[in-house]
Amino acid sequence: MKLIIAYIQPDKLTAVKQALYEKEVYKMSVTNALGCGQQKGYHETYRGADVEVNLLKKVRIEIAVNSKFVEPTVEAIIKGARSGKIGDGKIFIQSLDECIRIRTGEKGEDAIG
């Protein structure tokens, strides 16, 4: 089992969800995040003074999947999130030791989906 973490542009979330659904990945958790990456941030002015925004708004998606789903999940995320511009984001994959469904107590691969 793997835990996939993806940081994407906020406005791509709908597209990513759509792409995941097509690959039959229905479960995920989403949080707001601020990201600092190659996309250097930008300068704004507020009342004539400078605002340096270098933490940009991103969305963090966390998906636990069975091993055979890793490939399609990653593909789906890329498909939904890629625009080719800096700031598209990253995907991180970690191994997951155990997964438990609170409602039933099921464990492991059965619990994930």
């Binding site: 406005d11 979330l13 709908t14």
Partner: protein, 439 residues
């Protein structure tokens, strides 16, 4: 500090060279006929004007509250600027067009730029030109500000500034002249007491034109054509706005009697105030009940729209109907607005705050109700209730279409998704708050 003073001096110099284009003199050497009555009636209208100007934050709060947080600065800014621009443009052109002598075969009026063109006696019921202007400019700004809600979330800021100038400087005053300036609609016997048509329908139909030319916001209608809700981001603000509008309407309607001295005037003003109250209440209740019935849950935003609907509906006829009739007018308006919102959804027209159902549809209803309940001539009422909306719709449709042609109407899809606040102003409404960037 020195630099500052230099700047000041430089500016002052520039300013002094600018000769006043139009001078007013407040001459007071007229023989005082009825100074007391004069004072009271002008005071009354002054209070009315202040209350109507107070409606501006009402609109600003309703419209920003009913839209998403990412566009709040933009809507607020539009609301602030339509007042500022409206004041100047109505001063320069609008007032002269609306209340001057008929020109162009009665198509519009002209009384010169500024306020000077119109004089007054010192007597009860007579207004100083300045006071009259203040009251009228507040109405003009109301008509203008209605549109910002209907075009929210996608109209360019600069396009809105152009629109504001055109409506307060030209379009509103012209149809206003037809009725309140003594033009042909007034001659026909058309009765629109405080502006269900002249003010609200003008705004509502201009909004409709804008919404149609712009097209819906991205995401408003699903791939299947089903309307999707795009919930407002701050309903407490919106509710506050509606309360403020309700309060402001006590300037809008009662003060449109234009005088309070004389028992007839006094009585009329108070009847108008009560009718306004009753219609608002009835509109709110009925809109709540209608939505409750259709969607199984009472919806605050529709009830708020219902209150406004009742207020708009009573505006044309509040002087001519009984209390009970006022309630009936409110009841109808409350139902109408609910159906109007659904109608727009059916027609795939995206009016984020319901500006058209409230001000457009109920504005027309107000004109018709002045015939049904107010005993006004049918023909005149129907004519006025068709011609004024049409005038506004057509002129504004043309204006928005021209802007569209020049690609000056709508922001880019990227900007729309990110929000107009960052795109157009580089400013967030709620800096530091964590917003769900997507839902």
């Amino acid at each position: 500090m020195k630099k500052l003073l230099l700047t000041l001096a430089a500016l002052a110099a520039v300013v002094c060279l600018t000769a006043p284009v139009h001078a007013q003199e407040v001459t007071a050497d007229v023989i005082v006929a009825d100074e007391t009555g004069y004072a009271i009636d002008n005071l009354f209208l002054f209070i009315g004007a202040v209350l109507v100007i107070f409606m501006q934050p009402g609109f600003a709060m309703v419209e920003s509250g009913f839209n998403s947080a990412k566009n709040a600065v933009n809507i607020l800014f539009k609301n602030v600027m339509d007042l500022c621009i409206g004041v100047l443009l109505y001063f320069l052109f609008g007032y002269g067009i609306m209340y001057g002598d008929a020109i162009l075969g009665g198509f519009m009026g002209w009384g010169g730029m500024g306020i000077g063109g119109i004089a007054s006696d010192v007597a009860a019921g007579s207004l100083t030109p300045q006071c009259d202007f203040l009251f009228q400019v507040a109405f003009a700004a109301t008509a203008a500000t209605i549109v910002s809600g209907a075009v929210a979330g996608r109209l360019k800021f600069s396009a809105y500034l152009i629109y504001s100038a055109v409506i307060t400087g030209l379009v509103y005053p012209i149809s206003g002249f037809w009725q309140w300036g003594g033009g042909w609609l007034n001659g026909m016997g058309f009765h629109d007491f405080a502006g269900s048509l002249v003010v609200h329908a003008v705004g509502g139909f201009a909004g409709l034109a804008g919404a149609i030319v712009l097209g819906p916001r991205i995401g408003k209608f699903g791939a299947d054509g089903k309307p999707k809700a795009m919930p407002g981001h701050n309903l407490p603000l919106a509710a506050l706005g509606v309360f403020i509008l309700w309060v402001g309407w006590y300037g809008f309607n009662p003060a449109s009697q234009l005088a309070i001295v004389g028992a007839d005037n006094t009585n009329a003003v108070m009847l108008i105030a009560v009718n306004t109250t009753l219609a608002a209440a009835a509109g709110g209740i009925l809109a709540m009940l209608t939505t409750w019935f259709i969607h199984k849950k009472p919806d605050l935003t529709m009830a708020l729209n219902g209150i406004l609907a009742g207020l708009v509906g009573i505006t044309a006829n509040c002087d001519a109907v009984t209390n009970v009739e006022a309630i009936i007018i409110g009841v109808v308006a409350g139902v109408l607005v609910t159906l109007g919102v659904k109608l727009l959804d059916k027609l795939k027209i995206d009016d984020p705050v319901g500006a058209f159902p409230v001000h457009g549809m109920c504005g027309v209803w107000g004109g018709i109700a002045a015939w049904i309940f107010g005993g006004q001539p049918m023909l005149a009422q129907i004519t006025g209730s068709v011609v004024i909306p049409l005038w506004s719709f057509v002129t504004m449709f043309i204006l928005f279409s021209i802007l569209k042609k020049f690609n000056a109407l709508r922001v880019s899809p990227e900007e729309e998704i990110r929000g107009l606040d960052l795109g157009e102003h580089g400013e967030e409404a709620y800096s530091g708050f964590q917003l769900w960037t997507t839902q």
